[in-house]
Amino acid sequence: MKSISLTNVQKTFGTGPNALLTLKSITLEFRVGEFLAILGPSGCGKSTLLQIIAGLIPGSGGDVSFGGVPVSGPPAGMVYLFQQYSKSLLPWRSVAGNVALAFEASNGDSRARIRERATGYLELVGLSGFENHYPWQLSGGMQQRVAIARALAANPRVLLLDEPFSAVDALTRVELQSLILDLWEKQKLTVVLVTHDVDEAVFLSDRIAILSRRPAVIEDVIETAIPRPRDAITTREHPRFLALRHVLMERLLSRPAVK
């Protein structure tokens, strides 16, 4: 079953002699319920690709469809989780108020009911009791948890993750990765993760799509074939994990730099 399909997706920024071809031609199919990582070096256009999938920016060519329907704006059932959680949370709203933003496109619930639902999603990410705090009163990792709770509150089928763990410290990153895996299984989500972190891509995903340097094409799609459930410590010692990590690191590092 297909979730999202990309056919010859292209993106050029600017026009004329200064035009920058970022995505050359991307064709990729996402399966329903899979955890797919898009891995590539910094500046290769991964985030641009994810924003095109999300309907946040238009592509310059090619087609994006979600559940068979062409994407022309942010579609229902798909939520984008931003790398910069601190810029994505509304600083004037409490933690519960931020989560409630996800319900507000389809209003109708009473205040008490909205509050109750927001509290439920905060519980899912381990933030019970922080409903009345403000984002700036929380650590970076907790802020990203709020953003995750808010994304889930929109009840999506697909979660688009834009390097969501790159701005937090190493231990928090491992915790958040486990949280995302847990939520992905429980909520039966399709997850698309954009990252430049080989370790993270291998640990989390079913398949890894490797993006070339700019102008980007998909070089390869690899099945990780590492057994689930995955464990923050033992999975990283699994022979298949180590072998994949080795191969991917080599591929990412050995490429010639952009001229």
Binding site: P74, Y80, K87, S88, L90, P91, W92, A105, Y134
Partner: protein, 253 residues
């Protein structure tokens, strides 16, 4: 009071007392003409007499009503046009040259031409206060709206908020710190233009009284009303700071 507070406020307080003391001495010793510059103690006495009289509240109410009416209209118009111009390139291109033509004119210069069309009275006074207070709110709102982080806007979009919800729930609160900066500048301008308009066109109000007292050579009363204005200025500023703290508890975090 702890020593930090003493260090913060003591020198400034001493400077004020010293200035008042100097004024008192200059005036009482006759170095300056006492009739033109009565000592502060006398002005203070006069102030209390004025405040106790029934002639106090009417001009005060007149000035405050005119000022706040003009200020409120200017804030509503400034925020509405500012959001429209900040969000829409087309609306910005339509109104920007017009705004940039009127904005640099020192607003008092427009009072005489306005007299020609709206007469010497409240209508002209209100228009000039609105005109003066409108532009700082407009300019800051446009800037504030344009500076809203794209991540915040995209967050609203990924949650499929309507344009109205995006504007009211995300753009407006995100731009509020800048909007309030504009409103603060406008508050001072509104008071200034209200006083000036009352001097030129008024039949009541504090501005009218100050000029009237000077012409009638009621120098003490004139100074007493100037002191009233100073107190109003300080009070408005304190009120604004209080509102700002209440409205933006997240600012600077």
């Amino acid at each position: 009071m702890n020593s930090a507070a003493v260090r913060r406020y003591l020198p400034g307080t001493l400077a004020v007392l010293l200035a008042l003391g100097g004024w008192e001495i200059l005036s009482r010793s006759g170095v300056v003409n006492r009739a033109l510059l009565p000592p502060p103690s006398v002005v203070l006495d006069t102030l209390f007499v004025v405040m106790k009289s029934r002639a106090f509240l009417t001009p005060l109410a007149h000035t405050m009503t005119l000022m706040f009416a003009g200020y409120a209209i200017a804030c509503v118009l400034g925020v509405a046009f500012g959001i429209a111009m900040g969000r829409s390139e087309a609306i910005h291109n339509l109104f920007e040259p017009l705004a940039e033509m009127i904005r640099p004119i020192p607003k008092p210069a427009l009072i005489p031409p306005l007299f020609l069309f709206f007469g010497i009275g409240v209508k002209t006074m209100l228009i000039i206060v609105v005109l003066a207070a409108f532009f700082p709110v407009l300019i800051n709102t446009i800037q504030g709206v344009r500076w809203v982080d794209v991540t915040l806007v995209n967050t609203a979009r990924t949650f499929r908020l309507s344009q109205t919800a995006l504007t009211l729930k995300v753009i407006l609160p995100a731009a509020l710190p800048m909007i309030m900066t504009g409103m603060r500048v406008s508050l001072g301008l509104a008071l200034t233009l209200t006083i000036l308009a009352e001097m030129l066109a008024g039949e009541s109000g504090i501005g009218y009284l100050i000029l009237d007292m000077q012409r009638a050579f009621q120098i003490r009363q004139m100074y007493a009303w100037v002191v009233v204005l100073a107190v109003i200025g300080v009070a408005l500023n304190a009120l604004f700071e209080w509102v700002e703290r209440r409205a933006l508890p997240w600012r600077g975090q």
